[in-house]
Symmetry: C2
Subunit: 231 residues, 2 copies
Amino acid sequence: MELCGKPLSSRSRFSKPGLHRCYKVRGHSGKCSEFPYLEHLTRVAPRVARKIVRDSVMTTGAAWKSKDAGPNRIRRWVMLLSDEELLKLGIDMTRFSAVIVAKLREKAAQYTDCMQCAQKLTWLAYGMQNAPGPPDEIREYLEGLFGGIQEGSTTCLICLAPLDFNLFDKARRGKAEIETSHRNPRVHTPENIAFAHRDCNIAQGNKTLDEFYEWTARILRKAGYDVHKKS
Amino acid sequence: MELCGKPLSSRSRFSKPGLHRCYKVRGHSGKCSEFPYLEHLTRVAPRVARKIVRDSVMTTGAAWKSKDAGPNRIRRWVMLLSDEELLKLGIDMTRFSAVIVAKLREKAAQYTDCMQCAQKLTWLAYGMQNAPGPPDEIREYLEGLFGGIQEGSTTCLICLAPLDFNLFDKARRGKAEIETSHRNPRVHTPENIAFAHRDCNIAQGNKTLDEFYEWTARILRKAGYDVHKKS
């Protein structure tokens, strides 16, 4: 599938001319658009659409609400810039602790990877139980990228149980029950990103998924827990 | 071992006459004291001593720093009082969301359980690798309650690996590496309380330890992970 790729204008100070691109199919009609495949979810499930864009494009930071904590959310590609370039954008990295700097830098990702993550998350959302069915044009677009969309096929990255689209609307203490999760928390690419239950994502923490499995297996071995018993 | 048990005065509005008691051995010399077995740690590791008292006596609440979040830390036994009694103490439970009320109420514990939790945590701290050795009098007191203190015998409640006393001084992003943990997070008793690695405690979350083991075992089964392979 060939994409339009025409540059889009952006008013953000964190953007550069020519960075943002049109992700419609080449030769499309109508206006260019960066997230054409989110047009339907933006109408029927706007919170989900916003979450997909936010989690694809922005660093996280909800846990850093202290004074020296750094910018709460920032475009991931901005974190690829040098300290000098960031200073010109008004972000003084020397003000932040080493831990915060490391945390911010580890969320850095190329613009194109962020865009592909958004596509992948949209594809995954449509594959959830009770997800709305995508319009033909969007289905075709996403299936061209990642294969067939089957309702009920999207599972939690970590526990592998099917995810229900309605969980997007559920929240406990202001925290959504579905989170965006990474097989390796330090790699923001479509192969590496998925949705997960909040509890699962929290348990995985900063470990890779393989490290998490190995860690829990070690705990169960040590606890003498019979993994194969039926409860 | 018989304890003194004389009532101690308290200036807290959350206290009742006769609630606080002396926990020295009956017939002791010197002044009465609520936490005599912490006298040594208070001198050589004051942060650890303060943590033991705080985690034994107070509800947690670090995650609730929003306006409607309720009192950040409060004595656990206060949460045994009725809404009417709490209102007289200046705590209007109707101001808090149902989730916060449930969270507060589930941390409720009797004064005597809190005191025994503090004793147990002190005993466990002295059993850690690289812990300071307790003075004879304190060793005798704690061993009389819970059995022999052996350096290196205290393990993380969850992963069962030995805990190092020096981890009390380690923190990441302001969070200590050792947390107080409960086999069942809703039961605050000496049988049920212990120390754990922060990562382990976070992963366990609101589950009982048995539920956590079963949950991770289910995940590993589903992931087809060979628990018994050596990595």
